[in-house]
């Protein structure tokens, strides 16, 4: 054996060797089926192995398209009863002639009778003539033999021959052709048939919907020169181990055995790590950043009074955001959870600015509007409530939670979403400190480029909007912030400035998760979850 062949056989798997041996046997015509029968390996695996061998240049696979024929239901019926026109011919031979009605009546239905008469004429076996005012069929010359007697086996048409052959089972086209020729040579057919004409007949029978066919690609497998050489040098088959077993390990027999090699590049079945929702990971990241910055997380009730959600924040009672079409009210009122003094302070602040140098909103402030229960529209209701009970500086808290706005659902609007809210209350904190905190947060979130623009919120002054720069989308507005107005802090008794911000998280999440429809965060497609990468 040459060195090259040595390598070739060494690299062959046991299966490959078995297939190679089978291919080397004389006289065989090898395809998927015959090879499988010969080797005892299932058809799919045999074919796969053949492809591997072909890749190694040891065998050659030729594809051949073949057509297989079988009878239709109609074809089966005629194969049994004879073609309708043949039956009509027999009828005429027996009677010499017959009126149109009589001939037609000999068939079980109109359709069959029509087929019979059409093909009688087409095949030039009979024609219609007027006799004594009646239309009659008479036989044509081509079938008029001496004594008008035709032996039944003689005038079998080629189409009938085809029907007979196919009626024995599905048959391949070339085989069918050869059989037809053989049959024809057996009978003394008066018509001379050129072998090439057989195809035309097959098509004809097919057109009459008596035959149907299917195409099938057959692969013919033969050894190449190199393959022959390998086989001629002899191949010994040793069974390879597919799976290492406890048995093999314990007995030590693994030492003598050969392991089947894996193709390390073949794709494997996909497996997915169960994971935390990608959006939750963003929320957790924000939570971590704020705790790293020294903030304490707070929580609060989802159902709030309008007093804490709006009035205490100096949102005027006729503000559009308070209307039914923007806020989810529960249609219930409850005594305001605040001291009488606080309620009085808020009332005075709204009406005339309380004890501050402020004009307030004017008009009458009505406590019953403050008693209305609602689903919180922002978490500021929570942070403010916390400040009311924690008046000593410093306070640094944040809140990440669900808020509700009465929005009709579409790709960019949903009626409930998460908000991140934070406040710092301390002696001497300033608006520039607020900007410093926001800049730090966004930098930690992965947005190094941010800018501040004036903003407007009813309860902060000065107010600011934060925009981050996205290379492909320009400046995007991601949050609002400001210093709580004195009209907000004074009634609850605070003495120092409060820096506050509220950031919509949904938009940020969509950007970083590459979503274009915010609903996808809440109507999870399980495949999206499966494929979402933890590491990004």
């Amino acid at each position: 054996m040459t060195r090259k062949e040595d390598i070739a056989t060494a690299e062959l798997t046991a299966t490959e060797k078995r297939v190679l041996l089978a291919l080397g046997e004389e006289g065989g015509e090898w395809n998927q089926k015959t090879l499988s029968e010969k080797t005892g390996i299932n058809e799919d695996a045999v074919m796969q192995t053949a492809f591997m061998l072909a890749e190694k240049g040891l065998c050659e696979i030729k594809e051949e398209k073949k057509e297989y024929y079988r009878l239709t239901e109609e074809g089966k019926e005629y194969a049994e009863k004879g073609l309708p026109e043949k039956r009509a011919l027999d009828f005429l031979i027996e009677r010499k002639e017959a009126t149109v009605e009589k001939l037609k009546n000999a068939f079980q239905d109109e359709k069959e009778a029509n087929i019979a008469t059409t093909w009688l004429k087409k095949k030039n076996w009979a024609k219609i003539e007027e006799k004594k005012g009646r239309k009659v069929y008479i036989l044509m010359g081509s079938v008029s033999y001496p004594d008008n007697i035709i032996p039944p086996d003689v005038h079998l048409g080629i189409d009938e021959v085809i029907l007979n052959i196919v009626s024995k089972g599905e048959i391949e086209r070339t085989i069918l052709r050869n059989r037809v020729l053989k049959e024809i040579s057996k009978v003394k057919l008066k018509i001379k048939v050129v072998p090439g004409e057989i195809s035309g007949f097959v098509t004809l029978v097919g057109q009459r919907k008596l035959l149907t066919h299917r195409a099938h690609t057959e692969r013919k497998i033969t050894l190449t020169e190199a393959g022959h050489e390998v086989v001629s040098h002899g191949i010994s088959i040793e069974e390879e181990i597919a799976q290492l077993t406890p048995e093999l390990i314990r007995t030590g027999s693994w030492r003598e055995r050969k392991f089947k090699r894996y193709d390390v590049n073949l794709p494997s079945k996909e497996a997915f790590a169960a994971k935390i929702h990608p959006y939750q990971r963003i929320l957790d990241r924000m939570r971590r950043i704020f705790t790293e910055m020294g903030f304490t997380e707070i929580k609060g009730e989802l159902v709030q009074s309008a007093f804490w959600n709006f009035d205490a924040l100096f949102v005027p009672q006729d503000h559009p955001a308070r209307e039914m079409q923007d806020t989810f009210y529960l249609g219930m009122r409850k005594r305001i959870e605040a001291s009488k003094e606080l309620i009085k302070n808020v009332k005075q602040m709204h009406e005339h600015g309380g004890s501050l140098n402020s004009t307030g909103w004017g008009g009458e402030w009505r406590s019953e509007l403050g008693e209305e229960l609602l689903l919180r529209t922002h978490t500021t209701a929570i942070t403010l409530g916390y400040l009311a009970s924690h008046q000593e500086p410093p306070v640094k808290v944040f809140c990440i939670d669900r808020v509700y706005r009465r929005e009709t659902i579409d790709a960019t609007h949903i009626p409930e979403f998460d908000q991140l809210e934070g406040i710092v209350m301390d002696k001497g904190v300033t608006f520039s400190n607020l900007l410093g905190l926001l800049a730090t947060f966004y930098k930690k979130m992965g947005f190094p480029s941010i800018r501040f623009r004036p903003g407007y919120f009813p309860y902060t002054e000065p107010s600011v909007e934060v925009e981050v720069y996205m290379p492909e989308r320009g400046w995007l507005e991601l949050g609002g912030a400001g210093v709580f107005r004195e009209e907000v802090t004074n009634p609850i008794g605070l003495k120092y400035p409060v820096l506050a911000w509220g950031l919509g998280i949904g938009r940020l999440a969509m950007l970083s998760l590459g979503l274009t429809d915010i609903r996808d965060l809440y109507h999870s497609d399980i495949d999206w979850l499966r494929k979402a990468q933890v590491f990004r």
């Binding site: 935390i276 304490t296 529960l330 410093g436």
Partner: protein, 577 residues
């Protein structure tokens, strides 16, 4: 917030500043630039600055902001000699009115459109959809003063704007598009507001519609403006409009208002354009913003925002606020203006020195642990809405919702089985956005089944969980719920999951008893009970209980599976954490 379309050519003509500079600085004023096109931009000005809701006002502010013409803008108000007599009848219906006249205007189609849009924005904003404030502008040449403001019978008729035939006020409310849109404002009134001239010709039917005959056209030179409403903001609207028209070269004139009694002074003259004054200290400015400005610099910043400013002794500044500004309630509003005038881009962000120790909320810690356990068990986390419907929460789940007033106090939950608690504490929203979002969820399992139904075409097995709030009464309770679906899902699988979760959560002492929850298949369902050591029996509840029902698990009932459009076995559990 209204979006104003500003054409570059207009802006450059009115301000004398290059459009590049305007594009760069405008976002740092009081505006969100919504979009920039080749020859115009759409700008959203803040809702507290209605004085910017027209190209005239925006240009004025830009000229000040960009140092072209900084400082207070004032206009002389002459007397027009026109009177408006307010009759007692209207004081019960729409008590506030102010009027003004602007003469010698040269209007074209675009300045008329700008005026109409400004009027609409004022109606929507400070007018609260015309209820609180509504504006009418009229061609003064078509009517004869003095005017009368009164309340008239609904049967009074005139030709309303854009119509050719007379209609009664009742018919206008019935048929005219403005009438149907705003009739709710007059719903409980028997008489309607009306403004007539000395010959009985109609000017307007506030807050609904003007008369057609006083329509302002390109040939109008003198405009009469009336603003009616329910509060002092009528002056804001009037001042903003006369300022805008004065920017176009008009001459502002006053109107004398005569009232029937002393309730609001017998006589008044409007518009009143004298600036208000406020004093601020430079120290307050610097300590709030965190910068270090001199009095002179503060003054400059004020002027950039159109405020007048004058340095006073002891570090004080007297600020003059133009009559079109109604957003300044407090000295901090001026300080914000100074910060904007200084430039937000020039304020140095600085981390505060406040030192405290941060901490995650304990419930979030628990939720994080739960996520760790569940992903370890091979479950994917999902997040769903808390707004849902009775149909999903109860009907599809085969769980009963008892009619009657819900318990809003959770102490009633003692003695109720786990699923019974759901039905007792439903919180509905009063005006849901759809029949799918009528209540807040009291169970998470239905949400998970909904997610499964959305993923029917995806490979099995599917295992998902959610940890989050449910609402029982007004109280939130945090729950973990999970489902698993595949051809062989069964009670044994969910039981071993529940056991694992309880063990990891340190709740091994929880007991499991047969459940009656109809969401699950009988004989394949169980309640989880947490023993209560000091249980003494709640008020009005069965004292036989010796623990609190904290969860349920089992094989979902085939009807429930079908209700959610599924066809494979589903097992699941829900437990209070």
């Amino acid at each position: 917030m209204p979006t104003i379309r500003l054409f570059y050519e207009d802006l450059e003509n009115l301000t004398g500043v290059s459009i590049e500079k305007i594009k760069e600085r405008l976002p740092l004023m009081c505006a969100d630039v919504e979009r920039m096109e080749a020859d115009y931009m759409d700008v959203e000005f803040f809702p507290n600055r209605p004085d910017l809701f027209c190209v005239e006002g925006a240009s004025r502010a830009l000229k000040q902001f960009l140092d072209v013409e900084p400082g207070l803008v004032t206009y002389v108000v002459e007397k027009s000699g026109i009177e408006m007599v307010v009759e007692a009848s209207v004081l019960e219906v729409r008590p506030y009115i102010v009027c003004g006249v602007v003469k010698n205007l040269q209007l074209d189609s675009s300045s008329i459109e700008s005026l109409m849009l400004l009027q609409e924005y004022l109606h929507r904003g400070i007018g609260r959809n015309r209820e609180k404030v509504s504006v009418g502008v009229h061609d003064l040449a078509r009517v004869k003063p003095p005017f009368r403001y009164l309340a008239a019978d609904p049967g009074f008729s005139f030709i309303p704007l854009d119509y050719e035939e007379e209609m009664t006020m009742a018919e206008i409310l019935e048929r005219h598009p403005k009438g149907t849109a705003f009739r709710y404002i007059l719903e409980d009134k028997t008489k309607y507001p009306l403004i007539l001239d000395s010959e009985g010709k109609t000017l307007s039917f506030p807050p609904i519609i003007n008369a057609d005959q006083t329509r302002v056209t390109e040939s109008t030179n003198d405009i009469f403006i009336e603003v009616t409403g329910l509060n002092e903001n009528v002056s804001a609207a009037l001042n903003i409009i006369v300022y805008a028209l004065a920017e176009r070269g008009g001459q502002i004139q006053s109107v004398v208002l005569r009232f029937p009694d002393d309730r609001r002074g017998a006589e008044n003259e409007t518009p009143r354009l004298e600036p208000k004054t406020m004093e601020i200290s430079v120290k307050d400015v610097n300590s709030l913003i965190g910068i270090d400005l001199s009095a002179e610099e503060c003054k400059k910043c004020c002027e950039r925002m159109g405020l007048g400013a004058e340095a006073k002794p002891k570090g004080m500044i007297e600020v003059k606020i133009p009559a079109y500004r109604f957003d300044i309630l407090h000295t901090w509003d001026i300080i914000e203006d100074i910060a904007i005038g200084y430039g937000y881009d020039r304020i140095e962000p600085e981390i505060p020195g406040t030192m405290v120790i941060g901490e995650v909320h304990p419930i979030e810690d628990t939720k994080r642990t739960v996520r760790e356990i569940m992903t370890g068990l091979g479950y994917f986390e999902v997040l769903t809405f808390t707004l849902t419907s009775e149909r999903k929460q109860f009907e599809l789940m085969r769980r009963g919702r008892k009619q009657g007033k819900p318990f809003l106090d959770q102490t009633f939950s003692k003695g109720l089985s786990f699923d019974q608690t759901f039905s007792k504490f439903v919180v509905n929203v009063a005006s849901p956005i759809s029949s799918e979002h009528t209540m807040l969820r009291c169970s998470i399992l239905p949400n998970l089944l909904e997610i499964l139904s959305l993923n029917k075409h995806r490979d099995l097995p599917q295992r998902i969980f959610e940890v989050g709030p449910v609402l029982l009464g007004f109280k939130e309770e945090y729950r973990l719920a999970a489902v698993s679906t595949h051809a062989n899902a069964n009670f044994a699988e969910v039981k071993s999951m529940v056991d694992a979760v309880l063990k990891e959560m340190g709740m091994e002492d929880a007991e499991v008893v047969e459940s009656e929850d109809d969401a699950f298949l009988a004989g394949r369902r169980a309640d989880i009970i947490k023993p209560l050591q000091f249980f003494r029996g709640g008020r009005g509840s069965a004292p036989t209980m010796d623990g609190k029902h904290i969860g349920v698990f089992g094989e979902l009932h085939p009807e429930v599976i079908l209700n959610f459009g599924l066809d494979h076995p589903v097992v699941g559990f829900e437990v209070d954490i």
